[in-house]
């Protein structure tokens, strides 16, 4: 039996297994980033029913903010993350106040929310372009050694740590949404705004708090993007990945955003290995078209045509 197992686990099989395992791990860590973007995006979508493109802008500003405070005060990774998350929460609150408070009070058409949010996204991106110019920045190497070696296969330490932190963040978010009073309020608001008001909940406060949570998620996602890629103002456009993820998962569905993000990450790594990095957007696009044709409601969503 032992000999049989030994011959079955040949060197070649082992190598192939490790190759796929490595790919899966890369995909999971990329997917975790997408999932965090998608969660922040979906939170806003679920309460206000519009796609919040300013999320990307908040991500970029937070990523640069983290770079600046890290440089100035020489913080470690955890400290930097916490401070930036707090900053992201405040920033999102400001963005909400400038962009959406007035529209919400007037019950404006959903398209105005779209326009307002995408304009704010571009505004935040350009504030970064003006202050830092379009050159690239990079975080210092937080993790030494950057790679660990197992049997000739290298695993990136930062990927593992990001995967771990993402898991913690996602669990924290789930706890917030399903076990606290604020979470109940947010979920109730996502079902029906008017009824929630009648139940004695201050809608403005809940909306502001939801934006703060989503801003903190954007900050985490921004730092991860900065660690994973490099810092540049167009990181803004990664909100688009979060949008695809949340649509594939089912728009407005929290757990759907999680599944969608991880699926998108794993798929992109697979496409990358099969067709090369340049063609990844093409295959992602074709895949999402086919997916929407087959299952328009997403992985976990229920499809309803709602009133405007």
């Amino acid at each position: 039996m032992a000999r049989l197992l030994e011959t079955w686990i040949s060197q070649e099989r082992m190598e192939r297994f490790m190759y796929y395992f490595q790919m899966l791990l890369n995909g999971l860590s990329l997917g975790a980033i997408y999932a965090i973007i998608a969660l922040g995006f979906t939170l806003i979508y679920s309460i206000l029913k519009f796609s919040n493109f300013s999320h990307g802008g908040i991500m970029v500003v937070c990523a640069y903010f983290a770079y600046v405070i890290q440089r100035r005060y020489n913080l470690n990774f955890g400290m930097m993350m916490l401070i930036t998350a707090a900053f992201g929460a405040v920033l999102a609150c400001i963005v909400q106040y400038i962009g959406f408070e007035n529209l919400r009070a007037k019950r404006s058409n959903i398209m105005l929310f779209f326009v307002s949010s995408s304009t704010l996204g571009i505004l935040l991106q350009n504030i970064i372009v003006i202050t830092f110019s379009s050159t690239y920045y990079a975080y210092p190497a937080f993790f030494t050694p950057p790679f660990i070696d197992v049997n000739g296969f290298t695993f990136s330490v930062s990927d593992m740590i990001m995967l771990g932190i993402s898991a913690v963040v996602i669990l924290g978010l789930m706890f917030l949404l399903y076990r606290t009073r604020l979470g109940i309020a947010i979920r109730a608001l996502s079902m029906d705004g008017d009824t929630v008001k009648l139940m004695g909940i201050n809608v403005s406060v809940v909306v502001a708090l939801t934006f703060m949570v989503s801003g903190a998620l954007a900050a985490v996602a921004g730092i991860f993007c900065g660690v994973n890629y490099i810092l540049y103002p167009q990181l803004n456009q990664l909100v688009f990945k979060g949008m695809i993820a949340s649509i594939l998962g089912g728009l407005g569905n929290i757990s759907g955003a999680l599944y969608g993000g991880i699926m998108l990450g794993v798929l992109e790594v697979c496409f990358n290995n099969a067709f090369g990095a340049g063609l990844v957007p093409v295959f992602s696009f074709v895949f999402s078209m086919i997916f929407l044709l087959v299952r328009p409601q997403g992985i976990a969503g229920k499809y309803v045509l709602d009133k405007v």
Binding site: N109, L112, V115, I122, V129, F240, V280, P281, L305, V308
Partner: protein, 289 residues
Amino acid sequence: MSYYSAVMTSAIVNIIAILSMYTLMGLTGIFSMGQAAFMCVGAYATGMLAIHSHLPMAVIVVLSILAGMVCALLVGFPVVKLRRDYIAMITMGFGEAIVALLNNMSNITGGANGINNIPRKMTLWLGVIILALILVITMNFKRSKYGRYCIAVKNDELSAAAMGINVARVKLTAFVFASGITALAGSLLAYTTTYVEPTAFGFTKSIDWISFVFVGGVNSLTGTLLSGMIFCTLPEILRFADMYRIIAQCAIVLLVVNFLPNGLFGEHEFTDAIAAIRKAAKNRKRGNL
């Protein structure tokens, strides 16, 4: 070409693209985040045909428009039945996919270098004539049966469907129609600038167009035209302000969205003013009698 006529020509090309966005956003309420990709399709079709074939300009332009419309049909078909956010997502994905494809098929499209040496056949007067033509077509589209369907769909899809309007079909029609105009703008762009490259058609451009339409007025062709004229020539006037230009533009859009939710012109058209004057004149005549 003198400096001013060059500025005016490129402004006209952009205004044509903004008019297409008006049909999408202002009339139908489709939020297309990747409309610039159809401009890209038109520009590349023109570029490739102009370099590799000896067809006359008119034929090339028509073929480019057709290319844009076919792409719109393929992209729009799966998503018109769904909510607006899906169209935003798919069009944005289409934009990214097109840029990636153009960058990677370097043997046909020239990759990141783009296509150079397209003959410059665009003149200011040709631009003015085409713009006037597009204006008339869009105005008639707005007044036609389809235009009214579009407005109904924008305001409420459910009640539009209840009135017997085939919502998905109306959306698809508007999308294909508008993308044809965008592709025309792309084709003219290729003839104006004499080169095309993939990075010029990002989603920032589409968002810019959307905000111009909103500043002008959600339902007003006149407003769209006016804001297009202002915002397309503003960059040249404000060249010294460089980066702050975009900040100013965003600030204007935010102010308009917050305090004038219907845009500068709202639902009013230039023709309304003429009609009002005519009516007043008629009344005065009657009073004289």
